[in-house]
């Protein structure tokens, strides 16, 4: 890892490095905002200088914010980092709302591809020069851009919850029942059904040159279009790939998503700050605890900036419990991911059954502590919901067919020091040297380090390509600086390396857990709450970007408080940088040229979860 020698303030450094652009680059001087504001005409050049001269080679997140009523402009926010580590730089550019155009940065950071498409889809910002600017989450033909502040849902009642119809009356108005093109019809007179056109499928097949004979093959043949998904057992959810095949070889591949687009961000802007916590569980629904952590960090950062009265930094006990939960979650996620990768390889369900059984042990602990197996909703701003209980019910390991009431610390000790390390070894022994696994995965779906950085790949996908970038080390948070662990990296960047990286990360998680266990004993009895009393009106204005190393990659939350207000209930903007979504940018280049049977394996090795991909 390159030592980060640049200790100066990133904003001053960037301003100095970008001095040649004159007035086109300025520091963002709004209160509680940070970073630089760039004139949109100069954006591609500034981006190029940032990448090539200042070393910001990794674009973490791109999103738009609609400042309707506060200047009436769209702001596009870029978070750029160095893969050598350190703090990042927030880059902003502005465009008027009526003709919203911003030059695309895909040529500089290809990882912006899907994220710019998302901003176009949900906010209606046109990115000039984008190679494939079309809707990504909603379907083509959908009316409006939902994340604009003046776009209101069909059920719209008020800007934030609780809605009057729900409380105290409890009459929920559901979107589908208030669909403006349903019974609350908005069609003109003389309407007939054949005037409703469904163009949602057309653009997926455009430019595929269907029916053209493939030349030089000696036999008369056509390209074959195969739709994998959205209902397919190996797409890990409702993901769809439209690919063209020449024989069995993949020629083009287009990921189609949005089948699980649950409007997380729009709902999040209606919610109060704390109400978003359970929604974050449902992003990457296999690792809810670490989703909670990222959101808590983002909001805590905003509370610090605003010096919210009554807010205290999380206690040591809180941090210890958080890391315990997050590392257990990482273990669970990698178990699941490896189990289902083997499923995709054809080892139907046997490795997954082993993995799921160990997962159940950890879920028992989650259930005892947070009250739920999967959707834990456990962390709070400055604390956690509840301390770990003294005793718990161990359902998964029965003795004489009986559920046991056990001491939680003993259960954890057994789990961390015996059960999980042994299981990791067993998994390793059963799978790593298996000839079929090796032959099916070695050399398949290669992503080089340069490609991985360029497309903003994150997590095990990035590290398997040989880039030792882990947010826990590169931009540390919580108590990770005190803990000893290594960052496993791969050599070739293929599916096998991704498998090995995940396996080694399971070992490193156990290593962290073994350091956490004694600290859990030491800190017993300390407070777990960082805030004096529950208050939904927590942070006010300003922005914050909280990012954590989720099992699937870097998870970031970009939150903006309502501008110009002392206190407000809900976030003005709530955006999620989802690793599963952005890792898919690399899917096409990994798959093209491989056989169709390898498609599901490559997809499985990215380890996507659709709740997070589509949000």
């Amino acid at each position: 890892m390159v030592e980060n020698v640049l200790v100066q303030d990133p904003i001053q450094e960037a301003l100095a490095g970008l001095a040649r652009f004159g007035g086109a680059v300025q520091a963002d001087d709004r209160q509680n905002y940070e970073g630089i504001v760039v004139d949109r005409a100069a954006l591609p050049d500034v981006a190029l200088v940032l990448r090539d001269e200042l070393g910001y080679d990794y674009l973490s997140s791109v999103t738009g914010v609609d400042y309707l009523g506060f200047g009436d402009y769209f702001e596009v926010v870029y978070h750029a980092y160095r893969t050598s580590g350190g703090k990042g730089l927030t880059l902003k550019t502005r465009t008027p709302r009526d003709v919203a155009t911003v030059p695309s940065v895909v040529s500089v950071w290809p990882g912006a591809d899907f994220q710019e498409r998302e901003a176009y889809d949900l906010m209606g910002i046109h990115f000039t020069g984008h190679p494939n600017l079309k809707r990504i989450l909603m379907w083509e033909g959908f009316e409006g851009h939902p994340l604009r502040k003046d776009w209101q849902e069909a059920y719209f009642e008020s800007e934030h919850k609780p809605f009057e119809s729900r409380w105290p009356g409890g009459n929920v108005r559901r979107s589908e029942e208030y669909n403006p093109f349903g019974k609350n019809v908005k069609y003109p007179a003389g309407f007939t059904m054949d005037k409703v056109r469904d163009i949602s499928e057309v653009d997926h097949y455009e430019g595929l040159n269907l029916g053209v004979q493939i030349e030089g093959s000696g036999i008369r043949t056509d390209k074959l279009v195969v739709n994998l998904g959205p209902h397919h057992p190996s797409t890990h959810g409702v993901f769809r790939m439209v690919c063209t095949l020449n024989g069995e070889t993949v020629e083009t591949l287009e990921p189609v998503m949005g089948y699980l687009h649950r409007n997380h961000e729009k709902i999040g802007e209606r919610n109060t700050w704390i109400m978003n916590m359970p929604y974050t569980d449902r992003l990457d629904y296999i690792s809810s605890m670490s989703n909670n952590h990222g959101y808590a960090l983002a909001v805590e950062n905003l509370m610090l900036k605003n010096q919210v009265k009554g807010y205290n930094q999380p206690t040591e006990r809180t941090e210890v419990i958080r890391v315990l939960m997050v590392e257990l979650t990482r273990y669970v996620n990698h178990l699941w991911s490896i189990g289902f990768l083997l499923n995709d390889l054809g080892a139907f369900f046997t490795p997954a059954l082993y993995a799921i059984f160990e997962r159940e042990l950890i879920l028992d602990f989650f259930e005892a502590t947070a009250g739920s197996r999967m959707m834990c909703n456990y962390m709070r701003f400055g604390g956690v919901f509840k301390d770990i209980p003294e005793r718990m019910m161990a359902h998964a390991v029965l003795e004489n067919d009986m559920i046991r009431d056990v001491d939680t610390m003993e259960f954890l000790h057994n789990l961390i020091f015996e059960r999980l390390p042994n299981f990791t070894d067993e998994f390793d022994r059963l799978l790593t040297k298996n000839e079929i696994v090796f032959n099916r995965t070695r050399g398949v779906g290669i992503l080089t380090a340069e490609q991985a950085i360029a497309v903003s790949a994150a997590g095990p996908v990035l590290r398997a390509s040989g880039v030792p970038y882990d947010v826990r080390k590169a931009d540390p948070y919580s108590i990770y600086p005190d803990l000893e662990f290594d960052i496993p990296i791969g050599t070739y960047g293929d599916v096998y390396d991704r498998y090995l990286v995940r396996l080694e990360e399971m070992r490193q998680s156990v290593r962290i857990l073994q350091q956490i266990y004694p600290r859990l004993k030491e800190t017993a009895g300390q407070s777990i709450l960082g805030i004096d009393a529950y208050s939904p009106r927590i942070p006010n204005g300003g922005e914050s970007y909280g990012r954590v190393e989720n099992p699937k990659g870097e998870l970031g939350y970009y939150v903006v408080g309502v501008p110009g207000k002392e206190f407000d209930q809900n976030p003005w903007r709530y955006h999620i940088r989802a690793p599963s979504f952005i890792n898919l940018t690399a899917l096409e280049q990994m798959c093209v040229g491989h056989k169709v049977a390898d498609l599901v394996v490559i997809l499985g090795s990215i380890d996507i979860v659709l709740g997070e991909t589509d949000r």
């Binding site: 093109f181 089948y259 409007n263 449902r282 659709l610």
Partner: protein, 223 residues
């Protein structure tokens, strides 16, 4: 006396037909409906189809700890042509409801639908989302609803038991009880259309009527 080493035939026996007490459990005298439903309920094949978070709990139900094969349901089929039961396990979005209706139409009768979790039953925590359908029952008929977010595997299994009871209560000779025992094939459910928003073709008449009355109202008020 019942011989417990063998299959107990009492669930198969029609209780309206008298049987000497010593033969109960060893001999069954029954009717076609009963034996047919008993076989169906003991071997329901679900579609291997997951939507969202609930699918993870569905997989956990199928895995070793909860072991769905105790219900004869472990044969999850990836093709709707071979499946009896559609478990709608997760949030149904407007974009996804079109494939789901298509899958439902492709399933051969008799077919059942289980709405797993709050989202599939009524929209759940995302019910106000602009892309979310407030329950799959807006489009296809649902037999069993399982509450929870997500439902625990125990809750899902309770839903299976409820479904089996429902299956066992259906009668071949009563053609009104279920659509598939009447003459001819059942009607397909028309696919929703993804226009400017989702449009349900079954509402075409209402839509037209409302569009006309809206125009009349606008003329009357001079709007």
């Amino acid at each position: 006396m019942t011989n417990h080493d063998h299959l107990d035939l009492r669930e198969l026996h029609d209780p309206d037909i008298p049987l000497p007490i010593e033969l109960q459990g060893n001999l069954a005298s029954t009717n076609l409906s009963r034996i047919y439903n008993w076989s169906r309920a003991k071997a329901t094949w679900p579609l291997l189809f997951g939507l969202a978070c609930c699918a993870i709990e569905m997989i956990a139900t199928a895995a070793s700890r909860y072991d769905i094969s105790r219900f004869g349901m472990e044969v999850m089929r990836a093709s709707p042509r071979q499946a009896d039961l559609l478990i709608v396990s997760g949030t149904v979005t407007k974009k996804m409801v079109v494939p789901i209706v298509r899958i439902f139409n492709q399933m051969p009768e008799p077919k059942y639908v289980l709405a797993m979790g709050a989202c599939a039953s009524g929209g759940g925590p995302f019910k106000e989302g602009y892309n979310v359908v407030s329950g799959i029952d807006q489009y296809i008929p649902v037999d069993v609803y399982v509450p929870g977010c997500p439902p625990t595997p125990q809750a899902l299994m309770h839903g299976f038991i409820a479904l089996h009871k429902k299956m066992e209560g259906q009668r071949i000779h009563n053609r009104n009880s279920v659509p598939w025992y009447s003459k001819g094939p059942s009607d397909e459910i028309p696919l929703p259309i993804l226009g400017p928003d989702i449009v349900d073709p079954r509402q075409a008449a209402i839509l037209r009527q409302q569009a006309e009355s809206a125009v009349l109202l606008a003329e009357a008020t001079g709007d």
